[in-house]
């Protein structure tokens, strides 16, 4: 029993923080041009690939580092803290899909390339209405063996624009199947959505008779397995981001003087920030527990992931709202980074279903446990 972060975890966090503080440049996103057209990506992703982070959770057998979810959240929280515009979590989603559903040969071929930083993946789940639980709706696969064709449309795909290959969840005769296609294959049309969070690219993809390869090991539980891990990374991002926004708000409240006193000396400001500090601390504890539970395949892992994502995303929303209030009108301008965090918080809270959806999943699990115990 040890609920405290180990020295190794803290060292990983420190090195990620140091690297990202040097490499992440948010200035281009704060210029007015960023409101007109997407900011071109800089070298952050290749630097991240150079560090081997995409292979962090790839099993050693497939050329990765085989580290656990706790190690992962040390890094993802820091990426959340800096907003680190990169396809990291989009790639991670595709990686987990292959790990869970790929054949041995596919895993050998694809995961090794991901770990080596030679391949970037994305995962297309939602239909054009954003439904992630209807699962297969939106795209349909026909064929058999190694001859498959994909048709239809997927949306809200994270970072498909940077991907070399895209994993697609599609309907196969009424069942859910996982397929992989080349992003540049004939019939794939990737469109960039006008997503509010300009630090993240989100796409819609149309498939017209696209040649696809099936990931044959999928089953009814595959999506939930991947989804729980994505809940974890979104929650880790949110908790890390919220910590940074709290630190910014505290610094500003100490510095800004009104009526002869720093505004941070007023209880209306202090008390709000104290409450948020408590919520963020709980969010962080929830992220760490969910990471541990997922890594250890604990029976409570599914509940822990839903708890982490619903709570962390709401705390992030609350914190980013309060931060603009503390900064005052300057915090409402495009040139301040408050709005980048504000938008990341809200988009993270909707990307895989709302906090209320996660709470519904939680209550359903509790009802099932209750029935089983009765």
């Amino acid at each position: 029993m040890d609920f405290t972060l180990s020295d190794e975890h803290l060292a990983l966090q420190d090195s990620a923080r140091y690297f990202l503080s040097k490499e992440v440049k948010l200035e281009p996103y704060l210029r007015t041009e960023a409101n007109e057209k997407p900011v071109a990506r800089d070298g952050l992703w290749s630097a991240i690939q150079g560090l081997g982070w995409p292979g962090l959770v790839v099993p050693e057998a497939y050329g990765g580092l085989g580290m656990g979810c706790l190690d992962l959240v040390m890094i993802v929280s820091e990426m959340g803290r800096t907003l680190a515009p990169s396809p990291f979590i989009g790639n991670l989603a595709g990686t987990w899909a292959i790990e869970r559903c790929g054949s041995e040969a596919q895993k050998q071929a694809l995961l090794a390339q991901v770990a080596a930083g030679e391949l970037t993946l994305a995962l297309a789940v939602a239909d054009p209405n954003g439904d992630v639980n209807g699962l297969s709706a939106g795209a349909r696969a026909t064929g058999s063996g190694d001859q498959w064709k994909l048709n239809g449309k997927k949306s809200f795909v994270v970072e498909a624009g940077s991907a070399d290959k895209i994993v697609v969840i599609a309907d196969v005769d009424g069942e859910q199947g996982f397929f992989i296609v080349d992003a540049k294959a004939a019939g794939v049309q990737i469109e960039r959505l006008d997503w509010r969070d300009v630090t993240r690219e989100v796409n819609a993809i149309t498939f017209t008779d696209v040649a696809a390869e099936r990931l044959p090991q999928s089953d009814a539980d595959s999506w939930s397995w991947i989804r729980d891990r994505l809940y974890l990374v979104l929650a880790a991002e949110s908790a890390g981001g919220a910590e940074q926004v709290l630190a910014d708000a505290v610094a500003y409240a100490n510095e800004r003087v009104a009526f002869g006193r720093p505004i941070g000396s007023y209880q209306s400001i202090k008390h709000n920030l104290a409450e948020l500090a408590g919520g963020i601390e709980l969010a962080r504890a929830g992220v760490q527990f969910a990471a541990w539970a997922l890594s250890e395949n604990r029976p409570e892992a599914r509940k822990a992931a839903a708890i982490a994502q619903s709570y962390a995303s709401e705390q992030y929303c609350a914190m980013t709202f309060r931060s603009i209030q503390v900064f005052g009108a300057i915090g409402f301008t495009w040139e301040m980074r408050n709005h980048l965090y504000y938008k990341r918080a809200r988009t993270n809270a909707e990307l895989l279903g709302s906090p209320r959806d996660q709470r519904e999943q939680l209550i359903c699990l509790l009802e099932a446990e209750h029935r089983a115990a009765a």
């Binding site: 029993m1 609920f3 100490n254 500090a277 709980l282 209750h370």
Partner: protein, 400 residues
């Protein structure tokens, strides 16, 4: 990092369990002699247990169906006992600790005053040296168990010529001492009084019964409040005690009310917060195992746990509807666990407003967190630095 709790077959757990098998229905004296009342204390009182063993013993005491000594005699076992251990003479420890830990003598804490609640440092009860004794005069309030207590731990002003936090000292004494008058307070729950007012008129206490040196009172109080808050970051309905969100959700499933969409949403949100509060107190425990000094995490825990508990019992009562408005009535299934006084949703609900008052109000707690954890500016206290006996209307006016 490893969130596994000590297993059912942990050898240390088996050893504790064996003792309970060999000593069924032990008296509190037996428990104390075995070291199970305060396992984390050094011998002869405790076992110098690490927090993991503490947790095991706590769970096994519960499993044996015994209400924990810290519930029966909290001030001796939890808060002031530790101050006596740290700051008392050996003679004082021998006199007061054995009957205190064995729950034979109940203790009460005489801190709050009508004019010094949140601003405890403004307390006015004073002690004047008279030969080998001190003579105490003044009034205390909100003293739990004082009407049943044989022992009092009191903080008084021994030097009014220095700033308010500097001139305070702490004593331990028998409540049977002449001049001590206890008046129970009927609180809004209408239940048998838990709290009291205590009037002290020329109460003579030997100087040898002071804890620490003269003027050390404030420091000892701060340490005690820190320990007290530590035990409060659990997710029960009042100060961490009492039924939790797990029990509420399970009750709502049983009655079928979980199907009501608004109840369902609030219950789920409480369940989430309750589970996260559990993790926070587990982390406190781990930090102690790893030798990290107790930080402000416990304050954070209490800040969230108190309103969490209020929301819990509010949802329980909302689900009970008009039938739940009758005195001492619960429509929801009651928890199976014995939670002592916080045993019913009904009592937790009507006790609710006290949760954000006791052990420092929610407002003071938020000040502490924002100042000491976040580093925001301290609140203004124009009286903090002036000699206590010069604080008055004119001075307040001049300072503002």
């Amino acid at each position: 990092m490893d969130f596994n709790l000590p297993a059912e077959d942990d050898p240390r757990r088996l050893e504790v369990r064996r003792w309970f098998d060999e000593n069924p229905n032990p008296s509190y004296e037996q428990l104390a002699k075995k070291g199970y009342a305060v396992p984390h204390w050094p011998a002869p009182w405790g076992l110098s247990a690490d927090p993991e063993l503490q947790l095991i013993i706590e769970e096994e005491v519960e499993r044996a169906g015994i209400i924990h000594p810290s519930t029966i005699n909290p001030i001796a076992v939890n808060q002031c006992g530790q101050s006596l251990l740290a700051y008392g003479t050996d003679e004082l420890r021998q006199r007061f600790l054995p009957p205190g830990l064995a729950c034979q003598e109940k203790w009460t804490m005489l801190f709050s005053e009508p004019s010094g609640g949140s601003d405890l440092g403004a307390l006015r009860t004073h002690a004047r040296r008279d030969g080998d004794d001190y003579i105490i005069n003044g009034q205390k309030i909100w003293n739990s168990l004082a009407h049943k207590a044989q022992v009092g731990v009191i903080i008084v002003r021994t030097d009014p010529t220095v700033p308010k936090h500097h001139g305070l000292s702490m004593f331990i004494f028998e409540m049977s001492t002449p001049g001590v008058e206890v008046r129970p307070i009927l609180d809004m729950t209408g239940h048998e009084p838990e709290y009291n007012e205590v009037f002290l008129t020329d109460v003579r206490v030997p100087a040898s019964q002071m804890l620490g040196a003269e003027g050390m009172g404030w420091r000892i109080v701060l340490e005690q409040l820190q320990t007290e808050r530590m035990s409060m970051a659990n997710p029960g309905a009042v100060w961490g005690y009492g039924p939790t969100a797990r029990e509420l959700v399970s009750g709502l499933i049983e009655t079928g009310q979980i199907k009501d969409p608004l109840i369902r949403e609030e219950a789920a949100s409480l369940y989430v917060e309750g589970e996260l509060l559990r993790l926070l107190s587990a982390r406190d425990l781990s930090n102690r195992i790893n030798g990290t000094p107790p930080g402000l995490e416990a304050n954070l825990g209490k800040m969230i746990a108190s309103p969490h508990g209020q929301r819990l019992s509010t949802l329980a009562k909302r689900a009970e509807g008009v039938a739940g408005m009758l005195r001492d009535t619960d429509e929801l299934p009651l928890p199976a666990m014995d939670y002592g006084m916080f045993d019913t949703w009904d009592y937790c609900y009507w006790f609710g407003p006290a949760a954000t008052l006791g052990v420092g109000t929610q407002e003071v707690l938020k000040n502490t967190i924002s100042e000491r954890l976040l580093g925001l500016p301290r609140d203004l206290d124009p009286t903090a630095k002036m000699p206590f006996n010069e604080i008055g209307r004119a001075q307040l006016k001049a300072a503002s």
